[in-house]
């Protein structure tokens, strides 16, 4: 789902496309758009599996508040994908519960 012509924002400007890897699967995204937006455009609504009830969760507030969109990004869990811009070659994975740190940064 993607809005190509918006009554207020106008037509979607053309930008460079980048590739991100969602659970190992390549997904094309618009450079600089939030990860969550790229995934929703690709039909992916599930970001993580809730910690207690084990229920699927997806982007809810879309402004970085609610943390329902958190995923494992480049090995780092609990990244709010709705406010994190897409980068070329980024690895994005569905998070389970709290998630696990794959490798320390830096």
């Amino acid at each position: 789902m993607r809005i190509h012509d918006h009554p207020i924002l106008g037509p979607l400007p053309s930008v460079r496309e980048v590739k991100l890897l969602f659970n190992g699967r390549p997904i094309m995204a618009r450079e600089g758009e939030p990860i969550a937006a790229a995934l929703v455009a690709a039909g992916v609504w599930e970001s993580h599996c809730s910690r207690k009830a084990g229920e699927p969760r997806g982007p809810f507030c879309m402004i970085g508040r609610c943390t329902d969109c958190v995923m494992v990004v480049n090995g780092i869990p609990n990244v709010r994908t709705c406010i994190t811009p897409v980068e070329e070659g980024m690895g994005v994975e569905t998070q389970v519960g709290r998630g696990e740190m794959k490798h320390a940064e830096g």
Binding site: K52, R65, T67
Partner: protein, 242 residues
């Protein structure tokens, strides 16, 4: 009196329960005529004419309500109680309301006009799965309410991060947690990833609702830095920017 569209419903004597036919379509259809055990509904002339209710004969039994394929017949009792009128309406939605349940009242355009209480849900074999919901509505709304919507269940999430439902918070308040901090300690609402950004106002509202206190008197929970989520190494490195 001819009872066609909604405009004809106004002005019907309000002394006793009676059917209100809001059928605007001149189509060959007459299950309402057949369904009435008292012969109070007639089609004058052709089968395609708009049905006419004889109010002298109508006993207010409501048997015509589920018979209408267009869900265009209702029952109205303006004198149900001191301050309530009763509306019987066809209902073909799930979840099915139950007697005693509070439901949202909707007008002919689906706009919410108030809250009512279901008095009875009638669903007989002959009704072919169309239920008749009887709902007590504030007096004056009996000519307005033409549908009901079931209120959201109490198990909606209030705190999304810690998966705390409205019911869990209400129970905590009943157990004596009448401040946001106390509810937080009992249920963990507000202690998740988002740190209460989504739920804190809702928790305050539920406490106000349950205790009868004005919302302004419900103090927010204690706030401590950091005020927005940030990676721990930012604190370690002492970066100014984020």
């Amino acid at each position: 009196m001819k009872t066609g569209g909604p405009e004809h419903a106004v002005g019907i004597p309000k002394s006793q329960p009676h059917a209100v036919i809001e059928c605007p379509q001149e189509i060959p259809c007459d299950p309402c005529v057949e369904a009435c055990p008292h012969g109070a509904i007639r089609k004058e002339g052709s089968i395609a004419s708009i049905p006419v209710l004889d109010e002298e004969l109508c006993q207010g039994c409501g048997e015509c309500i589920p018979a209408c394929p267009g869900l265009a017949i209702f029952l109205v009792d303006s004198c149900y109680s001191e301050d309530c009128a009763l509306v019987g309406l066809p209902h073909e939605m799930l979840p099915m309301p139950v007697a005693g349940e509070r439901v949202r009242l909707l007008d002919r355009c689906g706009r919410e006009v108030g809250v009512g209480t279901v008095t009875e849900v009638r669903l007989r074999g002959a009704y072919d799965r169309t239920a008749v919901v009887y709902v007590a509505v504030p007096r004056g709304l009996e000519d307005v309410v033409r549908a009901v919507a079931v209120l959201p269940p109490d198990d909606h999430y209030v705190c999304r991060c810690e998966e705390v439902t409205r019911q869990m918070i209400e129970r905590a308040v009943e157990d004596g947690a009448t401040t946001v901090d106390a509810v937080k300690r009992l249920t963990r609402a507000g202690m998740g990833l988002c740190q209460g950004r989504t739920c804190r106002r809702l928790v305050s509202a539920i406490i106000a609702e349950k205790t009868g206190k004005p919302l302004e008197e419900i103090l927010p929970a204690t706030t401590r830095p950091p005020l927005r989520p940030l990676p721990l190494d930012v604190i370690c490195r002492g970066d100014d920017e984020l």
